[in-house]
Subunit: 240 residues, 2 copies
């Protein structure tokens, strides 16, 4: 039996050139949406509602008991929302049992595109839940697309490195004829032992570290510290 | 004085998210259009007319004295055209003084997008003319965009490696805050001494080597063997 295919998509703008119908799409937004999603669910959030728009975030928050609205632009909490996009804001003592309504730009856009194009399953991936993602992918027997959220559609390194980390772990189970996957795997292999220093060279680190977020960013490139599988079911990311 | 910026664009689909107005755009299509362009001009072709469409290629060929029409799909000369897309087809004894009307898909599309978006200069780059490209870029004092033609809009490694080769040579002259440039440079540095073997791992090599094109592909990853600068002037690529 032939193995399913695995591809890496380096920008949301490139999603449409792949046939994701019936596949598993992994939404990757390492700095920091998908790291925060894994962490909030790991710490007991009941569910996360990803939305692409601030007004929608506020409206859903108002209509949902026991919910928190969250989102950032340029490292600051968006006016009208309650919390930011930092994994450190969601310890168990705060988030357990609650619904997090989270606005993200890059990641949510990719998620909705994947659903529209017929993906069978959409999950979110980040270094904090690397192993949970890989375990899931190896059991599905479906084609896999590792979807980097990028930054304003531009290639970014941190999402690519995470794709590489996944590929290193799962590649024996997939057919991989994809230059972006080969590149991602090699970049990860070259840097997996200096991730904290290499990540400092990325443009996104420069952008966010200005806001004193260095500890956050280090957390976001640490493996398996919030090892759950966020999966999209009926409008929410949940752990099943 | 601040240095001009340099960016690497890994797919034509991502060109529109950058402001290329007033800049230099380098069109890169290593396997094999821009390698063939450099070679034909190096061997004395008077000019190359890049077109995106077979019928247009035939019509321009018919209307142009001393011209040759050329283009391939899937490793074979396109019906109705005279020659293919291999640098080896254009020795000096054959091409000197002639006009080559060349249809390419990925590269020509990118070239026209760059012009439409206001690029000040459009040149073509490939390993055979690496030094000529770098020398030109360092003299312009303009922002530079290294535009990978990719394959059907998918990221490809050979164009990325060429971008990395350029960056390694010119980086002291530019401000580079661009993850794709950092990635391209690192990939090139890791593989510049095993280019012939590493290029064999790319998907495009697999596609083309089926047609017996291995010698061609090795040529296309060899530095400075056709070291001229093809520059776009009034509808043609010429050496000025």
């Amino acid at each position: 039996m032939s193995k399913p295919f695995l591809y890496t998509i380096v920008s949301p703008k490139l999603l449409d050139i792949y046939d994701v119908n019936n596949s598993v799409v992994v939404i990757i937004d390492v700095f920091r949406a998908t790291s925060t999603i894994a962490t909030a669910l790991y710490n007991g959030a009941e569910r996360i509602i990803p939305v692409d728009d601030v007004q929608k975030c506020i409206a859903i928050g108002n209509a949902t008991p026991n919910s928190i609205t969250a989102g950032e632009r340029d490292g600051k909490v968006i006016e009208g929302l309650q919390h930011g996009n930092s994994p450190a804001e969601y310890p168990s003592s705060f988030i357990k049992g609650k619904t997090l309504v989270l606005t993200t730009t890059n990641g949510t856009k990719l998620l909705h595109m994947a659903l529209k194009n017929g993906a069978a399953e959409v999950i979110t991936g980040s270094f904090p839940n690397l192993s949970a993602v890989c375990d899931f992918l190896m059991k599905q027997n479906r084609n896999v697309f590792l979807g980097c959220s990028a930054w304003k559609d531009r290639f970014n390194l941190e999402d690519t490195l995470f794709a590489g980390a996944v590929i290193e772990k799962v590649k024996a189970h997939f057919t991989i004829h994809c230059d972006s996957s080969l590149m991602a795997e090699q970049m990860y292999q070259h840097h997996k032992n200096d991730m904290h220093s290499f990540a400092r060279l990325t443009t996104h680190w420069h952008r966010l570290s200005k806001f004193g977020l260095e500890k956050d960013l280090e957390y976001c490139v640490t493996n398996d510290v919030a090892n759950v599988l966020p999966i999209y079911k009926e409008g929410c990311l949940v752990v099943v």
